[in-house]
């Protein structure tokens, strides 16, 4: 199906096949409009086919394809005028940001009973993800779905590694808070659990 000069098309097909599910899920969870999913995947594949001859053997295909994917998703979201892309550059040390965030967000109750909550999660996960700013969401999805390291994420998104780490932490914390609120709202968790958890942390 795919004919390409330079690098063999068999190689390209195997690369695409290996990243098929993660690419699809990444696009699905990044797009505001679900109906753009097929267009996004098609655009990514078309670009990959076109540029594959330029892809350097030995470099990381995942980083390359997710970079393309992020740009395609960003462009599609931008067309819908739903998202702005501005990566926040943190001047502080990552540790400071993490400490600050630990005080800001509390999701201890979710930690105790993740099964209870996540067993009921459906579209709420998607809603929670879309509530996170685009740059943080991109980092989080690249980590969770694509399994990239922070260094690879930083390379993919062309941001400093510290920023990638901070965005990842923020995204995780916000997602957990959102899921906790959802759980409390629908009675999946007991509010008292949170206090117990706080006390436990203060003990140490």
């Amino acid at each position: 199906m795919i004919r390409e000069r330079g690098n063999s098309h068999g190689e390209l097909q195997s690369y695409l096949e290996a990243n098929r599910q993660s690419l699809t899920n990444y696009c699905r969870h990044s797009l505001y409009e679900k109906q753009h999913l097929e267009d996004a995947i098609q655009s990514v594949i078309a670009i990959v086919i076109e540029k594959f001859a330029l892809f350097e053997r030995g470099s990381d295909f995942r980083t390359w394809i997710f970079k393309i994917c992020t740009n395609v998703v960003y462009n599609i979201n931008k067309k819908a005028a739903r998202e702005r892309r501005h990566f926040i550059s943190l001047s502080e040390q990552v540790e400071d940001a993490v400490a600050e965030l630990q005080q800001e967000f509390a999701y201890d109750e979710l930690l105790r009973h993740p099964d209870k909550v996540l067993a009921h999660v459906g579209d709420e996960m998607q809603e929670a993800l879309l509530a996170i700013p685009g740059n943080e969401r991109a980092v989080f999805l690249l980590k969770t779905i694509a399994g990239l390291t922070c260094r690879e994420i930083a390379e993919t998104l062309e941001i400093p590694i510290g920023t990638a780490m901070a965005n990842l932490f923020r995204a995780r914390a916000k997602l957990r808070v959102h899921l906790s609120e959802y759980a409390k709202q629908y009675g999946f968790l007991d509010n008292n659990v949170r206090e117990d958890s706080k006390n436990g942390l203060q003990d140490h």
Binding site: M1, I2, R3, E4, L16, R20, Q21, S22, T24, N25, R28, H29, L37, E38, I41, Q42, S43, I45, A46, I49, E50, E95, V98, A99, Q102, L110, L111, R112, P114, D115, L118, V121, M125, L141, K143, T144, I145, T149, C150, M165, L168, F169, R172, L175, R176, G200, L201, D203, H204
Partner: protein
């Protein structure tokens, strides 16, 4: 190390993002601290759950992927073709333009030969009109003398009619007509089974026909072309433009017009050679009234 410090690095430890020393430190602490170990396990479990939810394939993902792949492959093929064809088409167009320009510069006659002349278009319209309504285009001439006198009077020119040696043309009649504002003698000849119109224009009338003027300036004093279904042949003499048009082959048309022009020049007069005005009873295109007028 203090639990608060360890917990700062817990997620980085979970992601295997810490350096070797810090990884060792956190690992050592988790072995000794049950609370931190519990928190780490919870985080890992939650993270694993979230990952499993987000990585779960949706229904129809396979179909969607295959469809997107096919579309992308088609799109890529189209783009590849465009990448090849566009420069080729542009190059070919440019080469053709250069070739045509060079050809027009060095051999203009080749390009002008099949160009529909303005004069040819006018006389073709006149001839076609005649074929539709022959009676309207015939003057009632009783003899050669009358037709000569008629043209001489209206065109202020001398005409002479004599026999054409070896010509198969027979004059049916004639009239004056207006070709693009120029008073023109229009003679109808019967050549074999076809009717041919012959037009006389003054030489200076060529100013009214820029195409003819340009071609006569760069070519021989004859022009041959085809207009619609008719052959057109024009010959320039010293004082006149004589052209014939009709549905006959080009050689016979050329012989007819050349014969008409043969003696022109020396005596500064137009020569109309066919001497006989014959009735055309056998020609279904001629009406009885026309035949009577001609005879």
């Amino acid at each position: 190390m203090d639990c608060k410090i360890i917990r700062k690095y817990l997620m980085l430890y979970l992601d295997s993002e810490l350096g070797p020393e810090m990884t060792f430190e956190v690992s050592q602490h988790l072995d000794t601290c049950g609370s931190c170990q519990r928190l780490f396990d919870q985080e890992a479990r939650l993270e694993s759950h979230i990952r499993s939810i987000l990585s779960r394939p949706a229904d129809g993902d396979g179909i969607l992927w295959r469809r997107a792949l096919q579309k992308a492959a088609r799109q890529s093929r189209r783009q590849s073709r465009r990448r090849v064809l566009y420069p080729a088409a542009i190059s070919a167009g440019f080469a053709l333009f250069i070739a045509l320009s060079a050809g027009f510069w060095f051999y203009p006659s080749i390009f002008l030969k099949h160009h529909e002349l303005d004069l040819a278009a006018f006389v073709d319209a006149e001839h076609t009109e005649f074929l539709k309504k022959p009676s309207a285009h015939f003057a009632a001439f009783g003899s050669n003398t009358e037709i000569v006198e008629y043209f001489r009077k209206h065109l202020s020119r001398d005409f002479m009619i004599s026999d054409i040696e070896g010509s198969e043309a027979v004059v049916r009649g004639g009239n004056l007509c207006n070709v693009n504002g120029c008073g023109t003698a229009h003679l109808i000849c019967d050549v074999g089974e076809s009717l041919v119109s012959v037009f006389w224009l003054k030489s200076e009338d060529q100013a009214m026909f820029p195409d003819v003027q340009r071609r006569l300036a760069i070519e021989s004093p004859t022009i041959h072309c085809k207009v619609a279904q008719h052959q057109f042949y024009l010959r320039q003499t010293r004082d006149a433009l004589i052209c014939g048009i009709g549905a006959i082959d080009s050689i016979r048309l050329q012989i007819l017009v050349d014969n008409l022009c043969r003696a022109e020049g020396a005596r500064n007069e137009y020569l109309i050679y066919p001497s006989q005005l014959k009735p055309a009873a056998a020609d279904p295109r001629m009406t009885a009234e026309m035949v009577e007028k001609i005879t």
